[in-house]
Symmetry: C2
Subunit: 337 residues, 2 copies
């Protein structure tokens, strides 16, 4: 039997009208009531009668989410949060994978349109500006991440420059001076911004960039991080710290350091990026930049919702969710228990 | 511009007719040609003109995939493979998350039907037999994993009993005798089967089951594995090996052992289950059961396709994809390079 508004109201201890207000996204609901309704919605798995509602509004009830690969934990975690946030608005989520190639990103964008979805959240890695269809095929489209192309779309991304600068400043504050970067890739927008933050932190400390310490990465996979770290450790003057542009590269770097018999952080400190769940359990646990992934998912869904309800024609908007630096064993060692 | 059949044929070096035969799932295509076409399909991201084709066939062009949580790497990896396999048949995939609760699994099943999707792949953890809608709401439904309810649905799952028995026999062959199990959970079908395999392996070796070595787990998350391992290590007679019912529990167990100052596998050997990508890079790397996830995804898609084309009314079918035991450092130590 389908869960009804009444079931949700009973569980939350509020009126059916209050539940309806929350489900329909009205602003004037007491915070405490909103929280209780959202908990009850989550527990019961309530879904609005999207068939009827969508017919009324001329909508499909679907959103598309385009990501490179779901098997990359950052995207698996983000997709889970997007599905949860979308469900609260009555949307089901179609997921498209592109492997980060331009051909597949273009094919995906071309296939989207109002016949299929009400909106799309896209995380491109290789698209160029001209690849974006005019007016995004007539649907609200939100860009996730800071892919470096200039298209008039709403965007959601943390401040990658400041985040990278924070990570590298942390290494500098621990006395590290020969700091490498793994993940350099001129074709990736986020990589360029993270490199910019790295350069800025070194400049703050009066250090210059050493080219041999900049390790490229075509894919942000564990094996690539391990290979890059192996090369860095073979240098005549190896680094005393590494800033990796994602956690998978960092996990690979951890492994390469261990295989070389080095202690982390004693011999070499390592920082990652993404705060994937794995990073809190690796040995040693990984210091990492933690983007607020739930806030990213929520902001993207609200941007699509806003375009469909009130602001279809406004200028592109940019939302910068917060981030934090999670300081763990890979930079400060095991703390006394 | 949308990719055409002709583009795919040119790239693959075959005729348009051959590409069409592969895309439409006809059997009589030379293996070498099929392989070349499939590679070209993957590279180009070709999608059949599903709008027109679906209209003709009375289909929606969507499949649903119901999983507990995408942030669990096994499900992230499996979902990625399902999307890839579905795309080759021209389907887009809707992903629904249930957190493994019965209420949300029911709500999801209730929401599915031929108005929404052409078929569904479901991985339930808490549903009971009576929760399944009559005739699966009129769409082909394939059950993934061995959830222990008796419903007349097609199923795809590895042989969990034999797989668990293989894992525990490996520990016994290394001379371990006090082997614990982390993940015991009578409500989960796969957990019961893995426990059965564990018991069988011990019986093979003439050992009896020690109740204090059976550690329950409500959720199969890293933190739960760490807590369970901590309890096992506090026993007056702690185990010399642990079989964990998934890789996340094993990663948590690795961490708890390290925090206790124990060496793995010297003091205690650890085996996981799932062969998630993380398991090859943990320190030490994790010996684990590797289900053939690509084969699981492929078989599930082919079952739905078969039901829609030829066998809508036949008896439920069961497919058992292969698995392997990946022997790594957590049981045999670091091998000489």
């Amino acid at each position: 039997m389908a869960v009804t508004l009444k079931d949700v109201a009973t569980l939350a201890g509020v009126s059916v009208k209050t539940v309806s207000n929350v489900v329909n996204g009205y602003a004037f609901v007491k915070p405490d009531n909103r929280r209780r309704v959202e908990e009850a919605l989550a527990v019961t798995g309530y879904r609005p009668n999207v068939g009827a509602r969508n017919l009324r509004r001329g909508r499909t009830g679907f959103l598309a989410l385009m990501v490179p690969e779901l098997s990359i934990p950052y995207f698996g975690e983000l997709a889970g949060l997007v599905i949860t946030a979308a469900q609260r608005r009555g949307w089901s989520v179609l997921i498209e994978q592109t492997q980060g190639t331009r051909a597949r990103e273009r094919a995906t964008l071309d296939s989207l349109g109002p016949h299929l979805v009400d909106g799309a959240l896209v995380h491109p890695e290789a698209l160029e500006a001209g690849d974006f269809p005019d007016l995004a095929n007539g649907i609200p489209m939100v860009m996730l991440g800071e892919h470096a192309v200039d298209v008039p779309l709403d965007r959601v991304a943390i401040d990658n420059v400041v985040a990278a600068r924070t990570a590298v400043s942390h290494l500098l504050s621990l006395g590290r001076r020969r700091i490498a970067a793994i993940g350099v890739n001129p074709a990736r927008g986020t990589a360029s911004l993270r490199l910019e933050g790295y350069r800025a932190a070194l400049a703050d400390a009066g250090l210059s960039v050493v080219d041999s310490l900049l390790a490229p990465a075509a894919k942000y996979h564990r094996a690539v991080g391990a290979a890059a770290m192996k090369d860095l450790l073979a240098l005549k003057e190896p680094p005393d710290a590494v800033f990796c542009f994602n956690d998978l590269l960092a996990v690979g770097a951890l492994r390469a350091a261990a295989e070389r018999g080095l202690s982390v952080p004693g011999d070499i400190a390592i920082v990652g990026f993404d705060n994937t769940e794995e990073s809190a359990f690796s040995l040693p646990s990984l210091t990492t930049i933690a983007p607020d992934k739930a806030a990213i998912a929520e902001a993207a869904i609200e941007l699509v919702h806003g375009r469909l309800t009130t602001g279809a024609e406004g200028d592109p908007r940019e939302v910068q969710p917060p981030f934090s630096l999670e300081v763990r064993e890979s930079t400060v060692g095991v703390r006394a228990g």
